[in-house]
Symmetry: C2
Subunit: 357 residues, 2 copies
């Protein structure tokens, strides 16, 4: 709890603890280096060129993004190596954008079907753009079965699209009981995918996986590259999964106490600031950094009603730091992150906010 200080932005706003951010970036870079794998962080979490540059400076080989629009922002921001980890279906405009990007950066895209691989080859052959084949390691979202990876890769190569390797996202590891299992599933799927490539006469250079919850388990087997995103900030999901402790959480939503209605704490950090994500294992709609027992028990667009548990209500008008459940969603709602380096509060533009296409 704190009071507003002169020049502080109006609440709710997102505040980044730059010391913690740097520490998270360095710790994960060191972990990847120690495991002998490359780090290609997913920039969908921060969407912010300043943070991308810190990641590259700490040794990341490039960035992962989800959309062409994000890739454009980070190439504009000076990043030279990008993987769009998404099964793009290529419209005419998408092809035009990708060709333009290929002249400015090393670029790869995801494919997860023979049809998409063939189409991408026909539209992108000769541009220098490469593909990675996505396999499903247990999340059951996108990706082919690992045993089909070689066939998709062969179709891409046949169509003129170079294939660098294979990737997966062990997203089912977002569960307290499944982090280890998901990492094992990932290792098994990637191993099977590599075998499938070899059966097709192809050798993958890149075998890519990883997520923040599985980061402690993902360094084995065929893996050559990790793509975690959330680790830069942490959030209430990582806190509740036990992956990151509150002392490491580097992004909070600073909120003002606007009401004590019903004897509860009501903050101005609603779902339009925090995002409305609430995983099955979540104990609430967000947490307070300095009140570990508190939970947001009712979240609407501009109100967060908090059960404080320890009883002493911070006064009306005071400010508290809220930890969003899912930081990627919160960042995508903000135009600016306020970077606090303990001496100044600097605005960082969330330059790729809203770049969904």
């Amino acid at each position: 709890m704190s009071s507003a200080y002169a020049g502080e932005p109006a609440t709710p706003y997102l505040r980044v603890d730059v010391g913690r951010l740097r520490s998270n970036i360095e710790a994960t870079a060191a972990r990847a280096a120690a495991a002998g794998v490359s780090l290609r962080p997913h920039a969908k979490t921060h969407k912010t060129p300043e943070i991308a540059r810190l990641q590259i400076a700490a040794g990341a080989v490039g960035l992962t993004v989800a959309t062409i629009g994000e890739a454009e922002v980070f190439v504009d921001g000076g990043v030279e190596d990008l993987f769009i980890a998404y099964p793009l279906w290529l419209s005419d405009e998408a092809v035009r954008q990708l060709r333009d990007l290929a002249g400015r950066a090393d670029l790869a895209i995801g494919v997860d079907s023979v049809a998409a691989a063939t189409r991408a080859g026909s539209l992108l052959a000769g541009t220098g753009i490469a593909a990675l084949v996505e396999v499903d390691s247990g999340q059951h979202r996108t990706g082919v079965p690992a045993g089909d990876a070689g066939a998709v890769a062969a179709a891409a190569v046949e169509a003129g699209l170079p294939v660098r390797g294979v990737f997966t996202f062990p997203g089912h590891g977002y569960s307290p009981d499944l982090m280890r299992t998901a990492a094992d599933d990932e290792a098994a799927a990637l191993s099977a995918a590599v075998a499938s490539f070899r059966e097709a006469g192809l050798e993958p250079d890149i075998v890519s996986g990883g997520s923040t919850p599985t980061l402690g388990h993902s360094h084995t087997g065929e893996l050559t590259e990790l793509r975690p995103g959330v680790y830069v900030f942490g959030d209430a999901q990582q806190w509740e999964l036990g992956v990151m402790q509150p002392e490491a959480i580097a992004l909070t939503c600073r909120a003002t106490v606007v009401s004590h209605a019903g004897g509860r704490l009501v903050l101005d950090s609603g779902g339009k600031a925090l995002g409305a994500d609430r995983a099955a294992y979540a104990t609430g709609s967000g947490r307070l950094l300095e009140h570990p027992d508190a939970r947001i028990v009712l979240l609407s667009e501009h109100h967060a009603v908090v059960d404080l548990a320890d009883g002493a209500l911070p006064p009306l008008g005071s400010r508290v730091d809220v930890v969003p459940n899912h930081v990627c969603a919160a960042v995508n709602l903000a135009d600016t992150l306020w970077a606090d380096d303990a001496t100044t509060l600097a605005p960082w533009a969330v330059a790729a906010r809203g770049r969904n296409a």
Copy 2:
């Protein structure tokens, strides 16, 4: 399902059916007029000056907003009468902004405690800004018990802040079994609040309530004004509550089929386009306008995995119209609404997007 046409924006994008939008605006205006109450729509749903002007043209007495930033956008857009239906805690900067707005529009704010009322009076007396007292009618979010309304109003008046009346939000009506109950609770709370005002020697001019789910039940008792928001567009929540039929839904997220992984439909309309809201009564994370039995069964940031129920998968690259669960959240993720009047597709700026303060 449809194919992309020349000049269509990249997916995912939000498309407004202007004919349906106009019809929804006119039907609710007519309903309010028939009931003899004023309509002051909540603009947090659309955040778009073009839509505000349609509402005013159809007879709305002014707009409701949630934040000072939204008020600034709509005053800039020509709206002359605004109610900030929120228990603002007034920072120095907020006072400066409100004083500026008061010179350009008729302005009222919410208060829900004696402390906030006294503070607002001390800071805003003489500006022409008025207050409405918020009462809790059963949602248990903000607002005082109805019997305390008169005391809060008296404190405001004593501090120099004119009080226009009382307001509530029957938000617990967002439940299939509670719409009627919430409307009844609202009527009872407003009636008790009016009595409390009179005991304090005050007479409320405005007795304000309403929400889209309770719209069919809210025209009774002391009510003089309705503040629904979602009715302009509708969404999957209103569809599932039975409040609006799919034929009335005026906003969809147009999405592209990017994968058939696992034999399911995967769209590029993830939670960063649709929002992640999922009420307890929701049957999924979003629906498809032309496939009423389909449900989004897995929503991540850039993927919506759909269980289509009827089996025939739309082809890769084709486009479908997704109905977000909660349209206010979806709109707040977009910089532009694409307004389709059957002959042209025009960009409307979501000018108040992200204006959380």
